[in-house]
């Protein structure tokens, strides 16, 4: 496979074989992670900057570990959007960081399209670590990696994504990623958070979590932002949890070997019941584990590792 991408901005324009190539590369990275000395020199002398304009612990740490396992120098730069409003524009901040000559910028921002925008103005490679409600490609790739590890395939699986679809970049990237590989996708949430236009993705839409979970192979629960209730998207956390939360009774409708996933951080007792979050069918921690290998693969490929 000939890897020509300079950036990973989103999965909407990824071809299925590119996605599979990333997964294959991640597998070889995972092998590294099982060694006693979990470090290879592939990115020695290269600098990876985590440029995060939105709070994140797991994604940023995951990229940091991934970079370090590849011997890159990893630097974290966190900036709140509020400090931006005090003067420096996003572009100015990014240009300042770029002037320090990083090889790869890993960027998270709360505005959809912010990472695409920066890619037009900067010359280094960029990985999107989440832009607004648009895409979170590394999350979708690690979700895919986790599903493949558990199920061996994606094509033909019924995969339900439940929660705040409207605002979810994880849902959008997963729709691109899993859809291209032939999964049968179901989207579920309250009508206010599940736009009818989403049917154009080819997914089946439902406002009934039972319908979404019934006979599913994989159930991906999304984090509900508690602030959404204040904007009147749903009446109360209690009602949300009752109607759109995953509990034992509802999960019993899924296939016997069905698995539960969640991009985290979870709201225990809201979108997922306490017992289910920790049960043997929950792959939530496997996802975190896959994240390092997948991000190593992307850093490696963007740094020219495949050539």
């Amino acid at each position: 496979m000939d890897w020509r991408r300079k950036h990973v901005l989103g999965l909407s324009d990824f071809r299925p074989e590119e996605i599979e190539f990333v997964v294959d590369t991640a597998r070889s990275m995972e092998e590294v992670l099982t060694r006693d000395i979990k470090k290879v020199p592939a990115l020695r002398g290269k600098t990876v900057v985590n440029l995060f304009f939105e709070p994140s612990t797991r994604t940023r740490t995951s990229f940091e570990i991934a970079g370090k396992r590849l011997s890159a120098d990893v630097v974290n730069f966190s900036s709140s959007v509020s400090s931006q409003s005090k003067g420096e524009t996003l572009l100015d901040t990014a240009r300042n960081i770029e002037a320090m000559r990083p090889s790869i910028l890993v960027i998270r921002h709360n505005a959809s399209g912010a990472v695409q925008f920066l890619s037009r103005h900067l010359s280094c490679s960029i990985i999107n670590a989440g832009d607004g409600s648009n895409e979170h490609p590394t999350q979708a790739l690690l979700d895919l990696y986790t599903i493949l590890k558990s199920k061996g395939k994606v094509a033909g699986l019924k995969i339900a994504i439940v929660g705040d679809i409207l605002h979810s970049r994880v849902a959008r990237s997963n729709l691109h990623c899993l859809g291209k590989l032939g999964a049968t996708l179901w989207l579920c949430g309250p009508a206010t958070l599940l736009p009818r236009e989403m049917a154009r993705t080819g997914a089946t839409l439902t406002n009934d979590i039972r319908e979404a979970v019934r006979d599913a192979d994989v159930v991906i629960m999304l984090r509900i932002q508690l602030e959404r209730q204040k904007s009147a998207y749903f009446p109360s956390i209690r009602e949300y949890s009752l109607k759109y939360g995953l509990n034992k009774d509802i999960f019993a409708l899924a296939k016997e070997d069905a698995v539960i996933m969640h991009p985290g951080p979870i709201n225990r007792g809201v979108e997922i019941s306490n017992d289910l979050a920790d049960c043997s069918r929950s792959l939530i921690l496997d996802q975190v584990n896959s994240g390092v290998a997948v991000r190593m693969a992307l850093l490696y490929l963007l740094a020219g590792g495949a050539q």
Partner: protein, 433 residues
């Protein structure tokens, strides 16, 4: 004295559409001559063979950014862009700094336009003091200073009681209230049309209903008060339909749309192009088709550019943070001429939309017509000219246009304002100093 000879003279206000020779004298239209061009004419002669000779165009909705935001645009550059686009008259909105809610600002605009302008400028003053939506501007006093209409453009008058009072108070003066129809509670921070494109791209959506609810409310207030209502930049299908209903009911309601609403859809947002970001937002194809139908059947009275210059700084940023609006004075005519192709809309109707109709809505005397005694405002249009809109052609200080790089057809080759040539690409015809 000027003779514009051999062109197709289209003057919808007087029902004229025929080849002839237009004579201008002392800043006014002298008349139209038929037959052979007059021999021994003592003055400037412009050959307009194969061209359209129409009233100097009128754009009833522009932002000149002067006073206060002169780095984006000023009266000199804004009117130069107008003249380059065939416009001899523009009505400028009140959201300057300071806001035009006083005789002083109105006079400043008029005086600067008189000194430096390439087109006539008609100030539109704010409905509410400081555009704050609380108390009314001194309508009569500002109108005496020269304001031709009132508008809180850019902001919706959220308080229906203020809207009611404004329409009622304005009624005896006869000037219209121009409204930016947008229920902001419904827009809820939306930055693009709520539809598949915005949902796919994760951009918060502004529903068409935010415009439609506002239009419906103001039509009902117009009915209650008998005031004159003008709907600015209509962008939705139901917005057109509501205007149609209001007209059928005999209400004093008019409406405009902008060329981008019948030329583009929200598909133009691809790649988070901030030059496709405006308010109201670009809508879907169904809306675009309804706008075209509204223009064709006469529901929509006028086309106005909503020329909104912005410096690169507020456009070169993440989509959600980018400023709304695009420049339009140099593309309004050419995009509207596109409607004539395939006979969709007759040339005389196109000219009316861009001249007679806005002049009538704003009661601009001597504008929008080539009748004898009218101001000597003329645009000569080459409907077949092929050209590309390039950044170096932009006369505005700002270059925020989604049409840069477009191959276009039809343009103004001559613009005359009060007898002075303000724009010319005709060989041998120089613009006046």
């Amino acid at each position: 004295m000027m003779l514009i000879q051999g062109g197709r003279i289209i003057d919808p206000a007087s029902g004229r559409d025929e080849v002839g020779h237009l004579v201008l004298k002392d800043g006014m239209v002298e008349g139209v001559l038929q037959g052979d061009p007059p021999a021994g004419f003592d003055g400037r002669i412009v050959d307009a063979g194969g061209k359209w000779v129409v009233p100097g165009l009128v754009d009833m909705h522009v932002h000149l950014r002067d006073p206060g935001y002169e780095w984006k645009e000023d009266i000199r550059t804004g009117t130069a862009a107008a003249a380059a686009g065939g416009f001899a008259s523009v009505a400028c909105m009140a959201n300057t700094q300071p806001v035009n809610d006083s005789p002083e600002v109105t006079k400043y605009i008029l005086e600067k336009a008189r000194r430096e302008g390439s087109a006539d400028v008609f100030p539109v003053a704010a409905v509410s003091r400081g555009l704050e939506g609380k108390e009314m501007t001194d309508f009569a006093e500002v109108a005496e200073a020269g304001a031709v209409a009132f508008s809180d453009d850019g902001k919706y008058i959220a308080n229906p009681l203020l809207m009611r009072r404004a329409m009622e108070y304005a009624r005896p003066f006869g000037f219209p209230i121009l409204v930016h129809s947008e229920d902001r509670d419904l827009t809820a921070g939306g930055a693009a049309n709520e539809g598949w494109t915005a949902i796919r791209m994760g951009i918060p959506g502004a529903p068409g209903a935010a415009e439609e609810v506002a239009i419906a409310r103001d039509i009902l207030i117009a009915r209650q008060t008998g005031g004159r209502l003008h709907l600015q930049h209509i962008s939705t299908k139901m917005g057109v339909e509501l205007l149609r209903m209001a007209k059928k009911a005999g209400l004093s309601v008019t409406g405009e749309t902008a060329p981008h609403y019948f030329t583009l859809t929200d598909a133009a947002l691809e790649g988070y192009d901030t030059n496709a970001k405006m308010n109201p937002p670009l809508r879907g194809e169904e809306d675009r088709m309804a706008i075209l139908e509204g223009l064709r059947d006469g529901t929509i009275d006028a086309i106005a550019s909503d020329h909104a210059p912005h410096d690169a700084f507020v456009k070169e940023c993440e989509f959600a943070a980018a400023a709304n609006g695009i420049i339009g004075l140099q593309t309004s005519l050419t995009l509207t001429l596109g409607l004539a192709e395939g006979g969709k809309i007759a040339p005389s109707r196109i000219v009316e939309l861009l001249s007679a109709a806005p002049a009538r809505i704003l009661s601009l005397r001597g504008k929008g017509t080539l009748a004898r005694g009218a101001d000597a405002d003329v645009a000569v249009i080459d409907p077949a000219a092929e050209w590309e809109f390039r950044a170096q052609d932009v006369r505005s200080k700002s270059k925020n246009s989604p049409f840069l790089g477009w191959k276009l057809r039809g343009r103004a080759v001559l613009t005359v304002c009060r007898g002075f040539v303000r724009h010319s690409t005709i060989e041998g015809v120089e613009a006046d100093a």
